[in-house]
């Protein structure tokens, strides 16, 4: 038996079948409906144009004020000091790339003072550091200083012939750039260079850690086959913490480049060691002494030595500024075209339509009067 109260409850329950009248459920949410026509978009184009062109000009000027000097020393700019009329590249090729070394000197002139911080880069061209199998070929756990067996990602530079793990393992480490570049001014004043502060601080602080007792560890474990000495001897100055996995040249190299043409920071100018260089690199004649160990001609690569200052935006980068100017100009052109259309294409203009109908109304009203 159902009591009246239950019946009422039933009724209530049945009533609840009626859908709730909420804006969301009834799809009546208030909405902004942008209607983009030639007219309404006019201010947008104008605004983009007016903002982008000045930004572009500022960026172009900023980029122009950055000084940069490039020296390609792949072949003829680096003639062997020992073997006459032979490039260092050829010397390496003739020695079949079996650890032969070659030294060359190249003089050049800087026309302007490179003021402020000056950075020295080596650049490589046609070097695919972003190749999939190359990028993989490392073990980040090993680089954290862990002594576990290394990952097979490092193949074929995982283990040495006798089966022990290579430190550091992998193709990236094995192919580390090992030219040494020494700069002197006027042939006798050596330019003081900083070997540290050239890597990402996070890499140096977090990603690369030496294992315990590093000297012994690196000495007892095999080094990568292409290396001439073990990781603990990457920096001859053993006093600072710049050896083993924490060597900044090594860290910089291990951060594989995005493009086949790339540059990597090699040294910074030390502004404090000598009064000659306290304001930067003065203009004059310089000699670059290159210990040419790194062969690139076999794969049509190029090597560069680059000196650059920086702006607040970084290095020389004219593209961004010009891109801003171009897009700004496109917007201004569009603005003008739409403005002309807007003036001539009256019929579709809702404002004109309203005006017309208002005039009509006035006329009819006048007629009644």
């Amino acid at each position: 038996m159902s009591t009246p109260a239950e019946n009422e409850a039933d009724n209530e329950h049945q009533k609840s079948k009626k859908p709730a009248d909420t804006a969301f459920k009834q799809q009546r949410l208030p909405a902004w409906q942008p209607i983009i026509t030639a007219n309404t978009a006019l201010p947008v184009f104008l605004a983009i144009g007016l903002i982008f062109i000045p930004i572009g000009i500022v960026l172009v000027v900023t980029s122009e004020r950055v000084l940069e000097f490039d020296l390609d020393y792949t072949d003829t700019n680096c003639m062997s000091l020992n073997v006459s009329n032979t490039t260092c590249a050829d010397v390496l090729a003739q020695a079949n790339y079996t650890g032969a070394s070659c030294t060359c000197q190249k003089s050049f002139t800087l026309d302007k003072d490179f003021e402020g911080d000056v950075y020295f880069y080596y650049g490589l061209v046609n070097y695919y550091q972003n190749h999939r199998r190359y990028v993989r070929s490392r073990d980040d756990n090993q680089l954290l200083g862990k002594k576990d067996a290394v990952s097979s990602d490092c193949q074929p530079f995982q283990k040495s012939v006798n089966g022990t793990d290579i430190t550091p393992c992998g193709a990236i480490a094995n192919s580390k750039f090992n030219d040494s570049l020494v700069l002197s001014m006027n042939g006798n004043i050596s330019v003081p260079l900083l070997r540290t502060g050239i890597a990402w601080s996070t890499d140096k602080a977090v990603k690369f850690k030496n294992p315990d007792n590093p000297q012994n560890w690196f000495a007892t474990n095999p080094r990568p086959p292409n290396w001439q000495q073990d990781a603990w001897h990457l920096d001859t100055n053993l006093t600072d913490d710049n050896n083993g996995y924490q060597n900044e040249d090594f860290i910089v190299w291990m951060r594989t480049a995005a493009m086949p043409t790339f540059r990597k920071l090699y040294r910074k100018l030390s502004l404090t060691e000598s009064t000659t260089f306290q304001n930067g690199l003065p203009k004059g004649t310089y000699v670059l002494t290159i210990t040419y160990n790194y062969p690139v001609t076999s794969f049509s690569g190029r090597k560069q030595f680059i000196i650059s200052t920086t702006s607040w935006m970084g290095g020389k980068n004219p593209f961004l500024g010009w891109a801003y100017i171009t897009v700004g100009i496109i917007c201004m052109i569009t603005f003008v075209v739409f403005l002309v259309l807007h003036k001539t294409w009256k019929t579709d203009d809702p404002l004109a339509y309203q005006m017309r109908s208002m005039q009509m109304n006035q006329r009819t009203a006048a007629g009644y009067n």
Partner: protein, 835 residues
């Protein structure tokens, strides 16, 4: 070879997401919630039966927006299955008016007292109270009742017993008449096997039923022969005007007025009956009665013999008048049908009713009108059908298979032939040249066959709507099945994809939910392809820079959750919240429906346009970004960015911006939730990126990401690129949208603009339609002239006006003959318990 194989596999894996797996999930989720929007719509809630609309599947929402053919049941769907006695004409005087809900004429009662035609009125009323097969509720009355319930009574009551179920429809007409009589004070309250008893305004009168001459579609009439309390023998006959009028005694004086009234009734969509009577002498009756008994016990040809004998007595009738019964339509049926027609939807009514009934309903719900060329097909064999179809098709000429102001009514028998192989194509051509097709006397199986035929041969979405078990076949056959939660049980609803409480809700289901779902889903599909192509084609550009080694530009987990987090919400916003104009506007201007019906939002051209758009964006994004970073030094500290991932993360940020803003650009309306979806997605990437750059080495994932956020965010180049590159990528889209909106507006966009400005839309919609309207009239005239050039409309099978004088809905050759039926009942005997 091994190398090639591996490279192929590498790139296969690299590009597998071009056709996104996430698409399926996004689309399913969007459809699922769209279905809920249908359920939640309070405009489709039927308060009478407490039924909200119910989407029983979420797979067909978008098809609701593309419907071109609607197949509808009649009874219970278009009509309420309720008959109401509305008007009558007695001896040339019209009573009642078409405007009021029920018949109640003071005048009639007054005239019954004192008017010169009071005898005719009395006969008329007596006829209606006695000549029928209605059974009053089984109850013994001790005094004269004024309130009696009839079986097969009002719709709220329980279903009638088993036998009566078969006759349920048959009784409705008579039920309407008897009920009307009750209101006039002439109460039929008791039936015994050989008599009926009525309370004629306070007097008990018992009429002996001597014979019942049954209804059949050939006879088109039904008669009873009764012995009155005053011991006269009378024959009461009711039937179609054509048969009654030819059986009248010579020069009956009211024929003309009654004829006019009949015309009048028919034009206002009423079902009409003509009534006549005749007084018999005892001898006359006795002679006939003997013959009749012989005929009805004959062994051979009994039906013919009985009809023959009956025919002999049904002559020399005196015309009493005519009745007009309204077959009540469901609420707003004719408005809804008109709207559906305006939306370019062709309507097929598939009914089990007779042609005449169907045509009358067609007229009363404005499916048929005099502004159309109304064709009928009623052929008895295959050859005739074929010939007739061929002829009609030829006469349509160029406009065959196009939209014509024409309608076709086809008889079930003929339909059977028309569906056979030699006729099928012609029938189809003819039928889809018509706005309205009415198929009469079709079986449930035929209904399904018709739907199947159209579905197979037309590239259009079909929808079937019905409420009864006999509609299940066609509901299942059509692309979309809509069931009406009716009083005829739940079979139809169970077989359907959508259930609604009333036919009129169909318009909102199609015009609003269908169109919205369709447009939104198109956007979701296109957008999902777009966003994935935009991201993944980037890998191809990068392959040019990494020696086709298959190196991926982005970190693997950031790619992995691209569709899951960073770009998951914008397609949902497009799929659920986007609307170009509000529901009321779409209901008011069904012409908007034609856009989605003709699939203007999704076709090969549009698809490839979007794909190219995605490729274009990816080119802008990749090449501008990589060019921007070419010098490697993007910090004032002189350090180099190193790492393709720096480029990858920078581009990825721009991609998220472009892709999310593109969703905004494609949105017709920005609700608060749209804002949250778009800006929230962008924000989610920044948050993720910032956190993800710090997990190594605490958690053994993503060592290459360590420190990324710090160096990316600290680079001014990144921020300048962020301002420049997404805007550059979207600039072309923006300009395209401007130009399109300014010079090549779609109807939808125009409507939207006017709506936003709160302007009146009617002039706009009208201006788009004016070129069509006069052409339609011309076309009609032309068509009519083509069809009637050589012959009269009747010969060709053109209906030029509604039928009248025919309102029997009785089932002929029923399981239980009417004669037998009325003789089974004795309402003066208590029902056995438990029956």
């Amino acid at each position: 070879w091994r190398h090639i194989g591996f490279t192929f596999l590498t790139f296969f894996i690299l590009f597998n997401n071009l056709i996104p797996i996430s698409l399926q999930i996004t689309v399913d989720l969007v459809k699922f919630i769209q279905a809920y929007f249908i359920n939640w719509d309070k405009d489709m809630y039927d308060s009478e039966t407490d039924t909200p609309a119910n989407a029983r599947t979420s797979n067909l929402n978008e098809e609701l927006g593309q419907v071109k053919y609607i197949f509808s049941d009649k009874t219970g769907t278009l009509t309420k299955n309720e008959m109401i006695f509305k008007q009558c004409s007695i001896s040339g005087i019209m009573y009642g008016s078409g405007n009021v809900a029920e018949f109640n004429s003071y005048e009639l009662v007054k005239n019954l007292e004192q008017h010169e035609t009071r005898d005719e009125i009395r006969e008329f009323l007596t006829l209606l109270a006695t000549c029928h097969t209605v059974v009053p509720e089984n109850k013994v009355y001790t005094e004269l009742p004024t309130e009696v319930a009839y079986q097969a009574s009002s719709p709220g009551s329980p279903r009638p017993s088993k036998v009566l179920t078969l006759l349920w429809n048959a009784l409705l007409d008579e039920f309407a008449l008897v009920t009307a009589m009750k209101l006039l004070g002439i109460v039929f309250y008791s039936r015994t096997p050989d008599s009926v008893t009525i309370n004629f305004r306070g007097e008990k009168e018992e009429y002996k039923i001597l014979n019942v001459l049954e209804f059949s579609s050939d006879r088109k009439r039904m008669s009873v022969i009764i012995r009155t309390p005053r011991n006269e023998i009378k024959l009461y006959c009711k039937g179609a005007d054509s048969v009654i009028l030819e059986r009248l005694a010579a020069n009956d004086q009211h024929v003309q007025e009654t004829g006019e009234h009949l015309e009048n009734f028919a034009n206002s969509g009423l079902r009409t009956l003509c009534l006549g009577y005749r007084t018999l002498t005892n001898e006359e009756y006795n002679i006939w009665s003997t013959k009749y008994r012989e005929a009805s016990t004959a062994i051979n040809n009994r039906n013919e013999l009985v009809a023959e004998v009956a025919n002999q007595i049904e002559c020399n009738l005196k015309l009493l008048g005519a009745t007009g019964i309204e077959d009540k339509l469901q609420d707003q049926v004719s408005e809804s049908l008109t709207m559906l027609h305006k939306a370019g939807i062709k309507i097929w009514v598939l009914t089990g009713d007779k042609k005449e009934t169907a045509i009358n309903i067609g007229y009363s719900c404005k499916l048929l009108s005099n502004q159309m060329l109304n064709l009928t097909l009623d052929e008895a064999n295959l050859e005739d059908t074929q010939r007739q179809l061929r002829q009609h098709c030829q006469q349509f000429g160029d406009s065959l298979r196009k939209e014509n102001p024409a309608s076709l009514v086809i008889e079930g028998q003929t339909l059977k032939y028309a569906l056979q192989a030699p006729c099928r194509q012609d029938f189809l051509d003819l039928a889809i040249s018509c706005k309205t097709v009415i198929c009469c006397r079709v079986s449930p199986k035929q209904k399904a066959e018709v739907v199947e035929l159209v579905k197979r041969s037309v590239d259009a979405i079909t929808l079937a709507i019905g409420d009864g078990a006999n509609d299940v076949g066609m509901i299942q056959a059509a692309h979309v099945g809509v069931g009406i939660m009716g009083r005829e049980g739940v079979q139809a609803a169970c077989a359907s994809d959508y259930t609604i409480g009333q036919f009129r809700f169909l318009t909102k289901l199609l015009f609003v939910h269908g169109v919205w779902s369709y447009r939104r889903l198109c956007k979701v599909l296109l957008y999902s392809f777009y966003k994935n192509i935009c991201l993944y084609v980037m890998e191809l550009w990068f392959a040019f820079h990494n020696g086709f080694s298959g190196q991926i530009l982005f970190e693997r987990w950031t790619i992995g959750i691209y569709n899951v987090i960073f770009t998951a919400a914008p397609p949902m916003a497009l799929g659920l919240l986007d609307r170009s104009c509000n529901a009321a506007t779409m209901m008011e201007y069904p012409a908007i429906y034609r856009m989605s019906q003709n699939r203007m939002d999704f076709n090969i051209k549009i698809f490839w346009t979007w794909c190219l758009n995605a490729v274009y964006h990816s080119i802008i994004l990749y090449f501008m970004s990589s060019r921007m970073l070419r010098h490697d030094i993007v910090h004032d500290s002189g350090i180099v960015l190193g790492s393709h991932l720096y480029l990858g993360n920078l581009i990825y940020t721009y991609v998220v911006f472009v892709v999310c803003l593109k969703a905004g650009l494609e949105s017709d309306s920005w609700t608060l939730l749209t804002h949250i979806a778009i800006w929230g997605s962008i924000a989610s990437w920044f948050i993720f990126f910032a956190i993800y750059s710090y997990v190594w080495p605490t958690f053994p994932v993503a060592p290459e990401m360590r420190g990324m956020a710090k160096y990316v965010f600290s680079s001014p180049t990144f921020w300048f690129g962020l301002l420049l590159i997404p805007i550059t990528a979207l600039l072309a889209d923006f300009i395209y949208n401007c130009v399109q909106r300014t010079f090549y507006k779609t109807l939808m966009q125009e409507v939207q603009e006017k709506e936003v400005k709160h302007q009146d839309l009617s002039d706009l919609v009208a201006s788009r339609q004016t070129p069509v309207a006069p052409r339609a009239t011309e076309r009609l005239a032309l068509l009519k002239s083509v069809f009637t050039r050589t012959r009269t409309p009747r010969e060709v099978g053109i209906i030029d006006r509604p039928y009248h004088g025919f309102a029997f809905s009785q089932e002929e050759n029923g399981v239980v003959p009417q004669d037998q039926l009325i003789r089974t009942y004795d309402t003066n005997v208590e029902k056995p318990p438990g029956y």
